[in-house]
Symmetry: C2
Subunit: 210 residues, 2 copies
DNA sequence: GTATGACATGTCCTGACTTACCGGTCGGAG
DNA sequence: CTCCGACCGGTAAGTCAGGACATGTCATAC
């Protein structure tokens, strides 16, 4: 049900079509909750049936923009305030770490090198986004961190004409908080992987010395 | 395909039945990769068809214990060394944080209080597991951290009769590394949520002053 | 003796999610 | 004016995951 509420939350910022929402979802929520466009179109239809959103306007090529209804807004708020948080994690890196003992020291070292590198880079990316969020506190939107990478960091959507989140808005502030989470999370993973490199010379051959 | 390799990895430690593996999976891998028993039985059948595991013995009440084959062991190793790590994350907490601006200051404060509390507790749990892993380095297995909680921390499986992981083994060492990841991850989330509490008095009413 | 509870193995159905495919439209380059 | 590539909105097929249901065994306590 997180996809549902993610979409409602995005529509609370302003109307958007399925295509819009797909991009906005990927850009702002992707790192925390991946979603492909077929899921989004399907969910939009369901939300519309449920009366939580409605068609706002018809655009150029069959484009349908949706708008959130009062019932929809109430539902997101209810979710945020009342529903229990699902703390389930699913991290392949951690799964693998349980089986490190099956790897040769060389493979393990190479693997950890790659992991440290990836986590460090990603952490840096979020730190930049967080810093950008801080800088845009009073002034107009300053330098945009490049969102050209396919990985798609948490970044504000393009200032859409209607009801979009201008920088400095509460939306942008929440986004900045989310970026901070990304920065801290990936930094923790980076330092973990780095620490793991130093841990064990004792490896697969189970210590043949008596 | 992570479930598949998770099962292979568990079976690399020693044989086990579907029931065994369900518990071992939940205890040692659950926090990083949740899996229910229907999935596990289905995957065991598939693995058996593929020749990566085979029936080791038949027990009391239709119990079938599986053993990993050479092909299976090679497959886990191949996965660990060659397959690219899937760094996808799916964290509902982060998803919610993007929508904090929709919450009333009171609801948000209450929410963050609960989050900090949960993360702090969970981090502590993993710290204890990590410490227990350190202590059991040379001696026999010392005090087991209680695994009575349903949440199921990362903890070593009971020393099974055949081929199990005794404490101090490479398996236990990997488990200790995994516990460290849990501790650092949840500590990062705890400190993030705590930091988020202090951030913004500026909330839902969008700053009406001109 | 029998009721309870842990052990043990599964099926079934629904819903979540992915991959792949499909067709139509608009703007601009040539 | 025609072709290309991005825009746009889907459908279909199939996999994966989760919850509920079904079935039966063994040990033990009463």
């Amino acid at each position: 049900m997180s996809l549902r509420h993610g979409l409602l939350g995005l529509l609370a910022e302003g109307p958007g079509s399925g295509y819009d929402l797909t991009r906005r979802f990927r850009q702002t929520l992707g790192p925390a909750w991946p979603a492909q466009h077929p899921q989004i179109y399907a969910e939009l239809a369901r939300l519309s049936d449920a009366g939580l959103i409605e068609v706002d306007s018809h655009g150029p090529r069959g484009r349908k923009a949706y708008r959130i209804t009062d019932a929809g807004l109430a539902e997101v708020r209810r979710w945020l305030a009342e529903d229990r948080v699902d703390h389930t994690l699913r991290i392949e890196s951690l799964l693998r770490s349980v089986f490190f003992w099956l790897m040769s020291p060389d493979d393990l070292a190479a693997h950890l090198d790659r992991e440290v590198c990836y986590y460090e880079e990603t952490a840096e990316l979020y730190r930049q986004l967080a810093a950008a969020g801080d800088r845009s506190g009073g002034t107009d939107r300053g330098g945009r961190a490049d969102s050209g990478t396919d990985r798609g960091g948490i970044s504000p959507p393009d200032a859409s004409s209607s009801g979009g989140a201008s920088t400095g808005s509460p939306q942008a502030q929440s986004l900045r908080v989310a970026s901070e989470a990304g920065a801290r999370l990936f930094q923790a993973l980076a330092s973990w992987a780095d620490w793991a490199r130093t841990v064990p010379p004792a490896a697969a051959p189970p210590a043949r010395r008596p």
